[in-house]
Each structure stands twice: as C-alpha cells, then as structure tokens.
Symmetry: C2
Subunit: 168 residues, 2 copies
Amino acid sequence: MADTTPSQSGQALLFLTDEQLRKGIEAMYFAYRGFTSDPDRILATKEYGRAHHRAIHFIHRSPGTTVTNLLAILGVTKQSLNRVLRSLIDDGLVESRVGRQDKRERHLHLTPQGAALERELSDAQRDRMRAAYRAAGPVAVAGFRQVLEAMMDEDMRRQYEALKDRTV
Amino acid sequence: MADTTPSQSGQALLFLTDEQLRKGIEAMYFAYRGFTSDPDRILATKEYGRAHHRAIHFIHRSPGTTVTNLLAILGVTKQSLNRVLRSLIDDGLVESRVGRQDKRERHLHLTPQGAALERELSDAQRDRMRAAYRAAGPVAVAGFRQVLEAMMDEDMRRQYEALKDRTV
DNA sequence: CACAATACGTCAGCCTTGTTGACACTCCAA
DNA sequence: TTGGAGTGTCAACAAGGCTGACGTATTGTG
C-alpha cells in the first residue's frame, strides 16, 4: 500500500484530496437514495418495507438458504428477521421447509407469489441500474464495481464474493 | 441513447446482463453498509444516530443554511428534522441564528464542538473512502462517480450538483 | 392597513425496523 | 444422556421515519 509521501503527491494523487473524497461521499449518499427509491415506492403500496425486500432478494438469490444463513448475510438479529419472515410466510410469499438432514433447520424458498413480487421489485431496481450502466459505459461500470468492493468490510466482502459467482 | 438492438448485443453489451446488474445491486448494498459503518460505530458511543450525522454533514457543508433548505436536501419532514436539530442545538453542537434579512429564517451553523464531531465522523468515513479510492485507482474512481451520478433521481442530482462545486 | 403566505416550532400519534433479554423446543453429536 | 446448536417467540424498548393539526413570528401583497 503506497504512502502519500511528498514525492508522490503530485497530479497522480489529486483524486485523493479531501474535496474529491467528500464528493464521493455525497455521491454515495444521493445515489443510494435513488437506488432504493423504486422498490420503496412499490413496497409502500403493499404491506411491506425495505426489510422485506432484502429478505426476498436473498431468498431468491439462494433458494433453500437457512435462517441462520440469512441472518449472517443481512446482519440483523434473529428477532428482527423473524418478524419480517413471519409476515412473508403468513402471506404466502415465502415457504419454510424443515430440513431433511437436519430437521432443526428451516430452508427458505419463495412461493410463486413471492417470486412474482421479487421480480417486480428487482425489475424496477434493475431498470435504474441498467440506465445508469448504459449512460456510464462498461469502463465506468468496471471502476464502479472496483471501488464498491474496496469499500466493503472484510466479512461483508466475503459474503459478497460467495454470492457473486453462483449460478442461479 | 443506444437501444439494445440485436446487432449491438454482442460483447459490447455484456455488462448489461441481468447477472451483471444483480452483482451491481448487491455490491451497492454491501458497500453502503461499509460506507456507514464507521460513523455509526462512533455515533453509537454518543447519543446520536445516522440522522444526526446527516444534519451535521450538510450544515458543515453549507454553513448558514436554513431549515427549509436542509429539509429539501435531506428529504425528510420538518418534524423529523426538528427532533434531530433540537437535540443538536440543546447539546451545543449546532447554533441557530435568526436571519438578518428575513427574521423568519433560522441560519444553522456548527459550534466548535459540532465541528469537532463533524471532523471525527468525516475523518472516519474519508479514511475508508480514501483506502477504497487508492486501492481502485483514479480511472476506477472516475467510473464510480459517473455511475453513481447516473443512478440519482433528477432532483437529487440537482442538489448534488449544486453542492458539488462549492468552495468550502 | 388587512390579510395571505412563508418559515419555523411543536404536540400527538402512528409505523417500521432495529435492539436486548428471556425462555422453550427440537435435534445432533459426543 | 446431556450439552449445545438451530430455531421460534414473547415482551419491552428506541431511533427515526410519517401524517395531521395548530401556534407564532414575519413578510409580502392587494
């Protein structure tokens, strides 16, 4: 890892000025609001919130995942997740199947209705993402992903990487 | 704006596949958690939350801004902001000065204590940002910013742009 | 001047989503 | 058989969003 020794702090490191970093921080803040706004709008018309979206997303992403697994990915408490999961199961969007090898585990799957909502939400989010990607171009997208991955915590990056290349 | 006509959908548009978009969405989710984790940790030791951080950040950013102005930037209700602002003022981190031209307006400023907390928080956030920027390099950073800006809502982009080039 | 509009503060009540603590149940493995 | 892991659930609480309503300066306008 290079240090900012005086000899290096010329044109090459201009992108590391406090001003540039602050712009990046604000860009991150405003962009994240855009990022969540479309699903939020859809969810507001239904009985659900962002927490439901996250659960649905990762169950779709890794069908058959266990509750503990989901807990680790989402980084919330069991009780918090349980409330969300409870409503999704009661409403018939998520199915909880007792594990075959280990009957203590519950394997989570989306029902057809759950899959439908997942599609509606992710379509909206992907549309915005696609527009942004298209506007910025492939080189920018590669940079975007690089910076985001460098910004994650170690353990988050591990979970992200684990999900990243799965064939779904 | 290019369409995805069959003739174009070769190698050139591979970065627009659903799989790529989904990775981008997850990267955004995990990265945002990293992005907020350092300030959150600091705030947890004090009496404050993320909402206080946002207020402090933008007051620092635009000293003398009015309440209505801050309301527009943060996109929350008056009541919600007031609760946060109240505690910051009571604790002596923010000063609210009656407007000179228009005495209905309150101009918000950080006190020395408020500025100290702002520095503590933004130092932590900038450190992570700097590390990510340094790891990814200037080209990636440019792409990162491009994609984020393309992902904002129109009105958010306007506010972001308005802030972007101010001399602070 | 009278009155509407603006900027702000505040009370009351509601929701979502996070937290901790405690407890029970099932089941696996040593 | 017994400890511990995986799970579900109850209760209580807090932060931080929201709406609706109302009060009070102050300002601009007819």
